[in-house]
């Protein structure tokens, strides 16, 4: 049993390492570098998300439909991984979902408000990957992006 705090520290250090690493080879960080870092973190998250689902739902019955899967993600999955439930799930019933978490666990330590808003995406890339990986293991191919306008609340968009 590993304490949730350990994961938070590890995640923070991972983000810091990936970005520092990219910066040292190129001197300065431009958008392309940022994109590389983001995709590295997202890729890591993807494999982890897949792994988590494989073990977690091994004995569970399969899901009825897409909405059922999304509800599982918002409740059970989110509780296990992000230690709370998604506050709001919206959908256009055409394959797009928005998951809103008002106190996203990986942002609460950064700020509450507008401070460090520009840095927030760095700390969400990994989680987007985890969600995308989880959905992939559940049979849904998706693109997951995150949006923050006021910390620590954030919206994950799944298409």
């Amino acid at each position: 049993m590993a304490d949730g705090v350990l994961f938070e520290f590890l995640h923070m250090e991972m983000v810091s390492h990936v970005f520092k690493d990219q910066q040292s080879t190129n001197g300065e960080m431009n958008n392309k570098d940022r994109a590389v870092c983001t995709s590295v973190l997202e890729g890591m998250g993807f494999r982890v998300g897949q792994g988590l689902i494989e073990r977690f739902t091994r004995d569970s019955p399969s899901f009825k439909d897409e909405l059922d899967i999304m509800k599982f993600i918002c409740k059970d999955f989110w509780t296990q991984v992000f230690r709370r439930q998604v506050d709001n799930l919206r959908t256009n019933h055409q394959g797009t979902y928005v998951l809103q978490d008002n106190k996203f666990v990986l942002l609460t330590q950064l700020s509450s408000g507008k401070q460090y808003l520009d840095d927030a995406p760095k700390y969400l890339a990994y989680s987007c990957g985890v969600i995308r990986g989880a959905l992939s293991s559940l049979g849904l191919d998706s693109v997951v992006t995150a949006e923050v306008s006021l910390m620590p609340s954030c919206n994950f968009q799944v298409t």
């Binding site: 049993m1 590993a2 520290f9 590295v40 890591m44 494999r47 982890v48 988590l52 977690f56 296990q80």
Partner: protein, 180 residues
């Protein structure tokens, strides 16, 4: 087994699996980024150090453990309180040196290596080296310079995982912590 209790055990499992899987993904990525195991080991140690210097604050805040009187007490706190709190295991403290400045932590099972196997071309990789950095960084923040290394590793064929910790010296309070 009712659905309810199934969920509870999965709670703890999922949480620790998240950490274990994340750590695995990190090591995999580092192996991709760096050419040799030695470099990966160094990076893990450095990252562990950065985590350790912050983790100690969390630990002190939550454990309400007072100042340790000597290295033996430090060893006990690390094994019985810290490891228990963060990794849910209690390693045993053994193999004290005659001078009382060196001891071993024996971990029967290491949660970091659940489901992990080292491929043949990474035989010198110290997979759990992050732990060494964490311990080193955390103790440095409480004015102790220590040397931490793995003496035995189940991933490399040993029966147990053994971390050897050696007290180097007391750090004077007015010296700045190492910058890494």
């Amino acid at each position: 087994m009712s659905r309810q209790s199934n969920r509870t055990t999965d709670n703890k499992k999922m949480n620790s699996e998240l950490f274990t899987l994340t750590y695995g993904a990190l090591v995999t990525q580092l192996c991709k980024d760096y050419e040799n195991d030695e470099e990966v080991n160094k990076q893990l140690d450095k990252m562990g150090y950065n985590i350790g210097v912050r983790l100690i604050e969390d630990f002190l805040a939550r454990s309400s453990v007072g100042r340790c009187q000597d290295f033996r007490e430090t060893a006990d706190v690390i094994a019985k309180v810290a490891f228990k709190m963060y990794l849910g295991i209690t390693p045993s403290v053994t193999n004290w040196s005659p001078a009382g400045d060196e001891f071993s932590l024996i971990l029967e099972n290491n949660p970091l290596v659940d489901f992990v196997e080292l491929p043949d071309n990474h035989s010198t990789l110290i997979y759990s080296n992050l732990l060494c950095g964490v311990l080193r960084g955390a103790l440095e923040m409480v004015q102790m310079a220590v040397d931490v290394r793995f003496a035995q590793d189940t991933l490399r064929g040993d029966n147990v995982t053994e971390i050897r910790m050696k007290f180097i010296k007391r750090i004077e309070e007015n010296l700045p912590a190492g910058d890494e």
